[in-house]
C-alpha cells in the first residue's frame, strides 16, 4: 500500500515561491506523471516527495503518515535520476547492491538479490562492468535496478528517458510500463515530453508556474482541458486557439466570429460566457478540408508539411497561423486557397481569462 497525498505543499527559494500550494493524491499502484514546461516545478515537487528538498509549508503524507521530517532513505521511496547518477567507480553489481551493502545485508544475500534484479532487467552479463562500459539504455536499466532492489513502496522517476535517443526511448517506455505492472509500486514520473506522459500515465498532473493546472487521465486531459494552458500543452500539434467575438443571434446558439470574418454557431456554453472576446479551441485534426456549402471558411495555405500518412497545413499569416492536420498526402501547395469545415462536436470554448466554458 502506498498512497501519496500532498496537502497545500509550498516551496520557496529565498523569497521566490516555486511550488504554490499543491494538493494532490496518487492512489496505490497508480502511475502518475507530472508534466509541464521547464521551470514549472515538476522536478522540485518530485524531490520534495523524495525528501531531497524540504517542504516549507503543507504536508506530504504516505499512507496517511506525515513524511515531511523523515529522511529520504527512511521513506520507503526509491528514485531514478535523469543522469542515472550511477556510482562510476563501482561495477553494475555493486551499484545495484549498494543500498543493501549499506544495510549490512550478508554478501551472498546481496549477490542473490542483485542477480534476481539483473535477470528482470536483462543485465546479468554486465554485472561486472563499470557504468562507463555500458550503453545509455543499459545504464538506465542499472539505475532502475538500483531503485527496485530496495523493494520500494513508491518509485520516483525524474525525466529518466531524456538522455536516450528516440528509438531507445520508445523501447524503454514499454519496458518501464511492464516493470511497473510487475512490481506494482506507486510510481511518480516527471517528464516534459507529453508523448511519454500520454502513453505511460494512469493519471497526468499538468503543472504550470508551481500550481496544478489540471489532473486527469490522459484521454480526459486531451478531450476536456480545463484551460488554454492544458489545451495547448497536451496534444501535438497543439490545439489552435482562435480569437473570436461571442454574440447571441437569438437562435439559442452562440455565434463565434473570427477576426478574418467567418463565423460558426455552437450550443450555449456552460457556464455561460458573456458576449465579447473569447477563444475558440480546435485541434488540428478537427479542421477538415471542405468544399462548397460544407465549408465554414476559406483561407490561404502558408506552409505544407507532407509526412506521407498525414499532412500538416499551416493556415493564414505566419505571424498568427493555425494548423490543420489532414489524412494522407494531399496535393495542396503554399499560396493555395482552401476551404475548411470545423467539427463542431470537437470545439472548445475559452473565456477571455483562458478558463474552459464549453466542452465538446
Amino acid at each position: 500500500m502506498a498512497v501519496i497525498e500532498l496537502r497545500n505543499v509550498r516551496k520557496f527559494y529565498g523569497s521566490l515561491e516555486v511550488i504554490k500550494g499543491v494538493d494532490l493524491r496518487v492512489e496505490d499502484g497508480e502511475f502518475a506523471v507530472f508534466v509541464g514546461p521547464s521551470g514549472c516545478g515538476k522536478s522540485t515537487l518530485l524531490r520534495m516527495i523524495a525528501g531531497l528538498e524540504g517542504i516549507d509549508s503543507g504536508e506530504f503524507l504516505l499512507d496517511g503518515k506525515r513524511m515531511n521530517e523523515i529522511a529520504p532513505d527512511k521513506r520507503g521511496i526509491a528514485m531514478v535520476f535523469q543522469s542515472y547518477a550511477l556510482y562510476p567507480h563501482m561495477s553494475v553489481a555493486e551499484n545495484i547492491g549498494f543500498s543493501l551493502d549499506l544495510k549490512k545485508v550478508p554478501k551472498p544475500e546481496i549477490r542473490r538479490q542483485v542477480e534476481a534484479v539483473a535477470e528482470i532487467l536483462q543485465l546479468t552479463e554486465y554485472l561486472d562492468r563499470r557504468p562507463a562500459a555500458l550503453s545509455g539504455g543499459q545504464r538506465q536499466r542499472v539505475a532502475i535496478g538500483r531503485a527496485i532492489i530496495k523493494k520500494p513502496a513508491v518509485i520516483l522517476f525524474d525525466e529518466p528517458l531524456s538522455n536516450l535517443d528516440a528509438a531507445l526511448r520508445v523501447q524503454m517506455r514499454a519496458e518501464l510500463q511492464r516493470l511497473h505492472r510487475d512490481i506494482g509500486a506507486t510510481a511518480v514520473y516527471v517528464t516534459h515530453d507529453q508523448v511519454e506522459a500520454m502513453t505511460m500515465a494512469d493519471r497526468i498532473v499538468v503543472l504550470n508556474g508551481g500550481k496544478v493546472a489540471q489532473e486527469a487521465s490522459p484521454i480526459t486531459l486531451y478531450h476536456k482541458p480545463d484551460n488554454t494552458f492544458v489545451a495547448t500543452f497536451i496534444g501535438s500539434p497543439r490545439m489552435n486557439l482562435i480569437p473570436v467575438q461571442l454574440s447571441r443571434p437569438g437562435n439559442g446558439l452562440v455565434r463565434l466570429t473570427s477576426q478574418a470574418g467567418w463565423s460558426i454557431d455552437l450550443p450555449e456554453p456552460s457556464p455561460a460566457l458573456p458576449a465579447g472576446p473569447a477563444r475558440l479551441g480546435i485541434r488540428p485534426e478537427h479542421l477538415k478540408l471542405a468544399e462548397g456549402s460544407d465549408r465554414d471558411f476559406e483561407a490561404e495555405i502558408a506552409v505544407v508539411e507532407r509526412l506521407g500518412v498525414e499532412t500538416y497545413l499551416t493556415v493564414g499569416s505566419l505571424s498568427d497561423p493555425f494548423m490543420a492536420r489532414v489524412e494522407g498526402d494531399v496535393a495542396i501547395r503554399p499560396g493555395d486557397r482552401v476551404g475548411f469545415a470545423v467539427d463542431r462536436r470537437a470545439c472548445h470554448l475559452f473565456g477571455a481569462d483562458g478558463v474552459s466554458a464549453h466542452r465538446a
Partner: protein, 292 residues
C-alpha cells in the same frame, strides 16, 4: 604543403619559445650539473682555477656523508608533514566546506588563497616576526595570553615550524585542485547515495574519496615534487639550522655549493635530488596511474 603538415609546423612554432626556455634554464643546467658533479669544481682555491675530473668520487663521498642522509630525512619529513598531510588534509577540508553555502565564504576563500600570493622570502620574514625572538615573538605573546611559557619556536620546534609555515602557504593549491576534483562529481550521485541510505561519513569514504582519488594522486605528485624543491622561505627562516634540523636537500645543495664553495659536490647532491624527484614522479605516473 597539406593542411595537416601546415598545422603541425604551426604547432611546433608555437611550442618553440617554451622549448628554448626549458632548454636554456632547465635541461642545459641539469646536464651541466651532471658534468660538474664529476669534477672537483669549487668557487675558491686551486680547484676553482683548475678543476679536475674526479669520476664518481663526489657520489661515493655523498653516500658516506651523514649530513646528506640527514637532509634527505628532513626533506622526507617536511614533504610528508606539510604536503602529504598538512596541505592535503586542510585543503580537502576547505574544499569540501567552501563548496557549501556558507556565510563569509569570500572572506574564508581570500584567507586561504592569500598566503599563496605572498612571495616566498616575504613569507619567510613574516614568519620570523611571528616565531623568532623568544618572548618578543608574536606567537609567544599570543600563547602567553593563555598562560603558556614563551619560547624560541624556531630553536625548540624548528622542523615542526617550517612544516606549519609550508602547510599555511600550500593549502590554497590543494584546495583549488581538490575543488576541481569535487566539482567533477555529479550532485545527483550524492543524492542517489542519500536515497540509498548512506550516512555523511559513508558518502565521504565510499563515494567522494574514491571518485576524487585521481585528483588526489595528481595533487600528491605535484605537491611532492614541488615541496622537495622548496628553498626560499625555509632559508629565510632558519638557514637550515639549528644543527641541520631544517636542512632540506635544497638548502644542503646551496650550503655545499655557495657556503662551502664545493660546486662539484653540491652538483652531485643536486643530481641525486633530481633522480629522487624523477623516481617519485615515475612511481606516481606508472605505479599509481596518475593521469597527467
Amino acid at each position: 604543403m597539406t593542411y595537416e603538415k601546415r598545422v603541425s609546423w604551426q604547432l611546433r612554432l608555437i611550442l618553440l619559445p617554451s622549448v628554448l626556455l626549458l632548454f636554456a634554464f632547465v635541461i642545459y643546467p641539469a646536464i651541466y650539473s651532471v658534468y660538474l658533479s664529476l669534477t672537483n669544481e669549487a668557487l675558491t682555491g686551486a680547484a676553482a682555477l683548475n678543476p679536475r675530473f674526479v669520476g664518481a668520487r663526489n657520489y661515493i663521498r655523498l653516500f658516506n656523508d651523514p649530513k646528506f642522509w640527514n637532509s634527505l630525512l628532513v626533506t622526507f619529513l617536511f614533504v610528508i608533514g606539510s604536503a602529504v598531510i598538512g596541505q592535503f588534509v586542510l585543503g580537502l577540508f576547505s574544499a569540501i566546506l567552501l563548496r557549501r553555502p556558507l556565510r563569509l565564504k569570500p572572506l574564508f576563500n581570500s584567507m586561504i588563497l592569500l598566503p599563496n600570493a605572498v612571495p616566498e622570502v616575504v613569507a619567510g620574514f613574516m614568519w620570523i616576526s611571528m616565531l623568532a625572538g623568544g618572548e618578543r615573538a608574536t606567537l609567544s605573546r599570543i600563547v602567553a595570553f593563555f598562560g603558556v611559557e614563551p619560547t624560541d619556536w624556531l630553536q625548540t620546534f624548528p622542523l615542526t615550524m617550517i612544516i606549519i609555515v609550508n602547510t599555511w602557504r600550500g593549502i590554497a593549491t590543494a584546495m583549488i585542485l581538490l575543488t576541481a576534483g569535487l566539482s567533477a562529481v555529479s550532485h545527483e550521485v550524492y543524492e542517489a547515495a542519500r536515497m540509498d541510505g548512506a550516512t555523511p561519513r559513508q558518502i565521504f569514504t565510499r563515494i567522494t574519496l574514491p571518485l576524487i582519488a585521481p585528483t588526489i594522486l595528481l595533487y600528491m605528485l605535484v605537491s611532492t615534487v614541488s615541496t622537495i624543491a622548496i628553498f626560499g622561505f625555509v632559508y629565510a627562516l632558519t638557514r637550515g639550522g639549528p644543527g641541520g634540523a631544517t636542512e632540506l636537500i635544497s638548502i644542503y645543495i646551496y650550503n655545499q655549493s655557495f657556503t662551502a664553495f664545493q660546486l662539484g659536490y653540491g652538483s652531485a647532491v643536486a643530481v641525486v635530488a633530481l633522480v629522487f624527484s624523477l623516481a617519485i614522479g615515475v612511481i606516481y605516473v606508472r605505479v599509481l596511474k596518475v593521469e597527467v
